[in-house]
């Protein structure tokens, strides 16, 4: 079936089957390889994208469900080559090692920041917000610092 949706700010159409997860469409038809492939079962979070601004796992989204909705991937966050504040915070805090899980963590953090997180940041609340994402390099401390600093600096924006 043909669906139309907003992808990183542009209205696009795609031919999809209900048996395909949105992740496969984003990677194969639109070259958005920042949407990573991991567990295929909704556990690891590397394929996280925003659906109407809310973070979801694109390996579990039946592709036709994107019809008429808005999808944002990591590629859609920066504006005119300038990193999104959450991307900048991950960079400033060295919150990536191999980098494979990073897009997923950043998408989860972008959603978390839009849901009025506690400020000053609360460590347990941050851990709950990113618990759907796995970092196999186990670099969680720096990721938590990056999220925490993103919250603190969003206050000054």
């Amino acid at each position: 079936m043909n669906i139309t949706f907003e992808l990183n700010g542009k209205i696009i159409s795609a031919e999809v089957s209900p048996h395909q997860p949105l992740r496969d469409i984003l990677r194969s038809q639109f070259d958005l390889t920042g949407v990573k492939v991991g567990c295929h079962s909704g556990r690891c979070g590397v394929c996280s994208v925003l659906l109407d601004g809310k973070v979801i796992k694109s390996c579990l989204l039946m592709a036709p469900k994107a019809n008429g909705r808005s999808i944002t991937t990591i590629e859609g966050l920066s504006i005119n080559g300038e990193l999104h504040p959450v991307q900048q915070s991950f960079k400033d805090n060295f919150a990536l090692q191999c980098g494979y899980c990073t897009p997923g963590f950043i998408m989860a953090t972008v959603d978390y920041l839009s849901s009025s997180p506690s400020n000053p940041p609360v460590r347990d609340e941050i851990k709950t917000a990113i618990k759907g994402n796995v970092c196999r390099c186990t670099g969680y401390e720096k990721i938590i610092s990056a999220v925490s600093n993103a919250i603190t600096s969003s206050e000054s924006l």
Partner: protein, 290 residues
Amino acid sequence: MNSSSSYHLPCDLTSALNLLSEHSDSAKIVAGGQSIMLLLRQGFLSSDIFIDISDISELSEISIQGGAIHVGAATTYTSLENSLEIQPYSVLLDSLHVIADPQIRNLGTIGGALGHADPSLDIVPPLLCLDANVVVQSLNATRAIPLSDFHQEYMTADLSKDELIHSITFNQPTGIHGGAYEKVANVEGGWPTVGVAAQVKLGENIDSFLDVKIALAAVGDTAIRSYSVEKSLIGSEISMDSIRESSKLVCNDIDPLDDLSGSAGYKTHLAGVLCQRALVKAINRAGGSL
């Protein structure tokens, strides 16, 4: 690949019911679609006709009518967690907080969960404690089924091929009450090894049980009430000793399996421990002391 498959996104309930009636032999209702996506990928499901109910606004509504709360089937866990109507139901809130992770809760729905009928779903024991009813609808009829009867056996719900889940309803607890859900899982946000919900109603001196409801996940073919624990506590005075002794009786009502998350013996022990913890928390929330 599946060139014959069709995916419908009706905007109103009548259209959805018409489609379902027309394709009742082969159609699958989709809400969040996450469990269906997994089943399709694993080859357990071969449906080619899908009817997505998430654009039907009346199925995402939460309302209070005559002391009963109605939750539309396509309401996501996140909307439920954030709704003002649900805030007094601590037993339900506890479980919503520990279901998977934000991503899954943003898509997953209460109706999808009940239709899926997995015995390990965290949302079911709290709803059993609240005596929830499931409202199902076909083109010609509407039925309200007690949730305790709705899940008939392992991953099997009392749902005909031409019916869909419309909503879930439950009454607001009265009197001095409190509830809690306790769970142990192998990983943060994982499926429960065992989950136990408790809902208590206390006497006016806050020292005795007028009513107790206990329900468990992941300990049998369906989520289940523990009438043995309930009977032994109802009418008795609140004490740590009685809670400890009664919680042991949970073993009479459950039938856990040995699996990767633990042996049946371990899960039976865990069920008793979590039953105690849930009861203590529920009593504290009701204003009782131990």
